[in-house]
C-alpha cells in the first residue's frame, strides 16, 4: 500500500466541494425500523456545512475502511442538515453500517440524482405506490406534500410489504393519516389472521383507489417487478405515461456518471435517475438483464 497521510493538515475545502470526497457526518441515532431495516440519523461534523436536497435524491454513505453504498435520503427536505437514511442489511457495507453507534462518524457524498416532481403535482391528485423499502425514497416527497397539503388534490399512498411487520414508518403514517387529508391503503403479501388490513399485492389496489386518472401524478418506488405491474394498472386506469414517475436502482460506485456501473439502457441511474418519467425508460422497463 502506498504511504499514507503525509499531510495531516485539515481538509482544505475548495470553493466547489469535490464530489468524490466524503464529508464527515456524526450519527445522532440508529433506529431499527423492521427486522432487517434501520435508519441512521446524521448531522454534519462541521456545523457550517450546508446541505440541501430534493425528494428522491440519494447520498453515497461511507463506512470507514469498509466501503460506500448509495442510499436514498428519507428525511424531510425542510429539516436539513439532519439527514436520515433508511437501509436494509444486505451486503458487507450495510452490515458494517448497522454496527455503527450513536456518536460515530461516517462519510457522506451527495446529494446526487434526479428527484420526484412534487411541484408538478400542484393542483392534481397524487398517487404514491410504494413497495417494501421503496417507501424510504418517497418519504421526503410525502413531507413536501404534507407541508403544502392545500396545493394538491387527493393524495393516495398505496403501500405494499411482505408482512405487517415489514412496514416502514408505521407510526408516522398513522399520524399523518389522522392529521392530514391523506388516503393510505396498506397491503401485505400475507399475514396472520390477527391482521385487520388488506392482503394481496399492491397492484390490485390501483383499480379502485380514489383518484382521477385524467389529473393524476403517480410516483412509484419498489421492486422493479412491482413497478412494472403497477405501471400496467395505472395505464389501464387511464393515467398518461408521462404522468408516471418511477425510481430505478442499479449498482453505483461514483454517483456522478464516471464509473459506468449504473447504466440502465441509455441512462445513467446516478445522474439521469434515479427518478425517471416513465416514457424515458418505457422501452427497457422489464427487459431482462438490461
Amino acid at each position: 500500500m502506498a504511504p499514507m497521510l503525509e499531510q495531516t493538515e485539515a481538509v482544505t475545502a475548495g470553493p466547489v466541494p469535490d464530489p468524490m470526497l466524503p464529508v464527515p457526518y456524526r450519527i445522532q441515532r440508529v433506529k431499527q425500523e423492521t427486522g432487517d431495516t434501520f435508519t441512521l440519523e446524521i448531522l454534519p461534523e462541521d456545523p457550517s456545512q450546508g446541505f440541501t436536497f430534493a425528494p428522491g435524491q440519494f447520498n453515497m454513505l461511507y463506512v470507514f475502511g469498509v466501503g460506500e453504498v448509495p442510499i436514498s435520503i428519507s428525511s424531510d427536505p425542510g429539516n436539513v442538515p439532519l439527514l436520515k437514511h433508511t437501509t436494509r442489511v444486505v451486503g458487507t457495507v450495510t452490515k458494517a453500517m448497522r454496527q455503527l453507534k450513536r456518536g460515530e462518524v461516517m462519510g457522506i457524498r451527495g446529494p446526487f440524482g434526479s428527484h420526484w416532481p412534487v411541484e408538478e403535482a400542484t393542483g392534481r391528485d397524487v398517487v404514491i405506490v410504494a413497495g417494501g423499502i421503496g417507501l424510504a425514497p418517497l418519504r421526503p416527497a410525502l413531507y413536501r406534500l404534507m407541508a403544502e397539503r392545500s396545493k394538491f388534490r387527493r393524495i393516495v399512498l398505496l403501500y405494499g410489504t411482505r408482512t405487517p411487520e415489514d412496514m416502514l414508518y408505521r407510526h408516522e403514517l398513522e399520524r399523518w393519516r389522522g392529521k392530514f387529508d391523506l388516503e393510505i391503503q396498506v397491503t401485505v403479501d400475507r399475514a396472520a389472521s390477527t391482521w385487520r388490513g388488506n392482503v394481496g399485492v399492491v397492484t390490485t389496489m390501483i383499480g379502485r383507489a380514489p383518484f382521477d386518472p385524467s389529473n393524476t401524478l403517480a410516483m412509484l418506488c419498489g421492486p422493479e417487478i412491482m413497478m412494472r405491474f403497477t405501471v400496467m394498472e395505472l395505464l389501464k386506469r387511464g393515467v398518461a405515461a408521462e404522468c408516471v414517475y418511477l425510481s430505478a436502482e442499479r449498482n453505483m460506485k461514483c454517483g456522478i456518471g464516471f464509473c459506468g456501473h449504473c447504466q440502465y439502457g441509455p441512462t445513467f441511474v446516478c445522474k439521469d435517475g434515479p427518478v425517471f418519467a416513465l416514457p424515458s425508460i418505457a422501452a427497457i422497463l422489464g427487459k431482462s438483464e438490461i
Binding site: M1, A2, M4, L5, E6, Q7, T8, A10, V11, T12, D18, P19, M20, L21, P22, V23, P24, R26, E45, Y62, F64, G65, V66, G67, E68, V90, G91, G103, E104, V105, M106, G107, E249, R250, N251, K253, C254, I256, G257, F258, C259, G260, H261, Q263, G265, P266, T267, F268, K271, A283, I284, K287, S288, E289, I290
Partner: protein
C-alpha cells in the same frame, strides 16, 4: 534546458492550418523541443513483441522499420522493407492509460477516536505529457473521453489537469491495419482536429520526410524550433494520396446507418446467444478500447485499521460483479454482458454523449482471444433484423 542548436530555416511564423515539411533527420529536434519545454514524451515503442505507448527519449525509441499484422485474435510484428517510423496501426495500448491512469488514489482517511478525517489525494503536479504519434481514431477517442470527464455536470480534476497540459503530435495513418474501420466511423484515417501538430510520413524515392500540419499556436511555437519549410503542392498531394489509399484499404467496415435503432430493437436477437458461445467475458476488449471508461473503487485499510484509502481502478462491464446489486448481478449471463458492451459502444453511447462510443480502431477485434469481431456481430444483427431500417433520407429524389 536544451535549446535547439539549429534555427528554423524559414523566417515567417507558422500559422495554424498551414502545412510544412520536416525532414526525417530533423524530427529528433521536434522531440527535443518538446522535452526542452518539460513535456514528458510518450509514444509508440517496441516492447514484449508489440508496439506499445511508453516513454520516449528520442526518435531512436520509435519502432523504425516495423509493422504489425493484425486480424481477429491475432497480432504479429514484422519487419518492413523501409525505415518508416509510423508504418503500423494501433497496438494494445491507448492514450487513456496516461490521461486516466488504471489506478488512482482518490483520497485517504484517518480515524481519530470516533471521528473521521478525509484527506484529498496529495496535491501533486499532474504530468505534462506530449503524446507523439496519436492516430486520428485516437484523437476521437480522447475527445469522447473528454465528454465523460470534462463536459458533463461533474468534472474530473485530475483528468482535466492532464488534459489541459497535453501536447498532441498526431500521425496520419500511412496504412490501414487488418482490423481497422475508422473510415466507417468517420474518425480517420486523417486527423482533422484535436492536435497541435499532425504528421504525415512520406517515404518515396529515397526521401524520408514528414508533412506537418499546424493545429494550434502551441504547435506553431514548437515547430518554430525545428527546421522546416513550406509544404509544396506536390508534398501535400502525396500526403493526400497516402491517406486516400489508407481509407480505401480498411481491414473492416461497419454500416452505421440507423445503428442505434437497429440495436435498440434487437435486444432479444438470437445473435446474442451465438456470440455467447464464443465470448470468454475476459474483458480484453474493454481494456484495450480507447473509449471504455468504466471504473470501480476499492476501499482499503492498513493493518492498524486507523488509515483508509479509496482507489479508483479501471473496471469492465464483462465482470459479473459489475452490475451487482442486493446480493445478485443484474447482468448475470455472458450474453447480457456482451450485449451491454456492444450496445453501449454502438447505440446507448449516442444517447449518452451524442457520439458513437466506437472509433473503429479495431483493438477489440485484434485483442479478443477468440477473435470476436464487433463489425461482424453488428452486421449479423443487421442482416437478420426483423424490422427494416427506415429508408435512407439522402436517397430521396427531390
Amino acid at each position: 534546458m536544451k535549446v535547439p542548436t539549429q534555427r528554423a530555416k524559414t523566417a515567417e511564423p507558422s500559422h495554424v492550418g498551414d502545412s510544412f515539411v520536416v525532414e526525417r533527420e530533423h524530427l529528433e529536434q521536434l522531440l527535443q523541443a518538446l522535452v526542452s519545454r518539460s513535456y514528458e514524451l510518450v509514444g509508440p515503442t517496441l516492447r514484449d513483441g508489440a508496439i506499445v505507448y511508453d516513454h520516449l527519449t528520442s526518435t531512436a525509441d520509435l519502432p523504425s522499420g516495423w509493422t504489425d499484422e493484425q486480424a481477429g485474435g491475432k497480432y504479429r510484428l514484422q519487419r518492413r522493407q523501409d525505415q518508416a517510423l509510423f508504418g503500423y496501426a494501433v497496438g494494445p495500448h491507448s492514450w487513456k492509460k496516461f490521461l486516466f491512469p488504471p489506478q488512482q488514489r482518490l483520497w485517504q482517511a484517518a480515524r481519530n477516536g470516533k471521528g473521521l478525517q478525509i484527506l484529498p489525494a496529495e496535491e501533486q503536479a499532474e504530468p505534462k505529457y506530449a503524446f507523439f504519434g496519436v492516430r486520428a481514431c485516437e484523437l476521437h477517442a480522447i475527445a469522447i473521453q473528454d465528454k465523460v470527464y470534462l463536459e458533463g455536470q461533474f468534472v474530473d480534476p485530475g483528468y482535466k489537469a492532464r488534459r489541459e497540459n497535453l501536447f498532441v503530435v498526431a500521425v496520419n495513418c500511412g496504412q490501414a491495419g487488418g482490423t481497422c474501420f475508422c473510415a466507417s466511423m468517420n474518425t480517420g484515417p486523417k486527423a482533422t482536429s484535436g492536435f497541435d501538430l499532425a504528421l504525415t510520413e512520406l517515404l518515396q524515392d529515397g526521401r524520408h520526410c514528414f508533412v506537418v500540419e499546424v493545429g494550434s499556436v502551441r504547435g506553431a511555437e514548437i515547430l518554430s524550433a525545428v527546421p522546416h519549410q513550406p509544404a509544396s503542392d506536390a508534398d501535400r498531394q502525396q500526403a493526400e494520396r497516402i491517406l486516400d489509399h489508407t481509407a480505401r484499404h480498411m481491414g473492416r467496415q461497419l454500416d452505421t446507418l440507423g445503428i442505434k435503432e437497429l440495436l435498440y430493437r434487437n435486444y432479444e436477437h438470437p445473435r446474442w446467444d451465438d456470440v455467447t458461445q464464443r465470448c470468454l467475458t475476459c474483458a480484453n476488449c474493454t481494456i484495450v478500447c480507447p473509449t471504455c471508461f468504466c471504473t470501480t473503487v476499492e476501499d482499503v485499510t492498513d493493518l492498524t485499521g486507523e488509515h483508509a484509502e479509496r482507489w479508483r481502478r479501471w473496471d469492465s462491464c464483462f465482470t459479473v460483479d459489475f452490475s451487482y446489486i442486493h446480493g445478485g448481478s443484474v447482468r448475470a449471463t455472458p450474453r447480457s454482458r456482451y450485449r451491454q458492451w456492444m450496445t453501449h459502444k454502438l447505440a446507448t453511447w449516442i444517447d449518452q454523449f451524442g457520439v458513437s462510443g466506437c472509433v473503429g480502431c479495431g483493438r477489440c477485434i485484434t485483442w479478443c482471444p477468440v477473435g470476436i469481431d464487433i463489425t461482424v456481430e453488428a452486421g449479423a444483427i443487421r442482416a437478420s433484423d426483423s424490422i427494416k431500417a427506415p429508408p435512407d433520407q439522402s436517397k430521396d429524389s427531390p
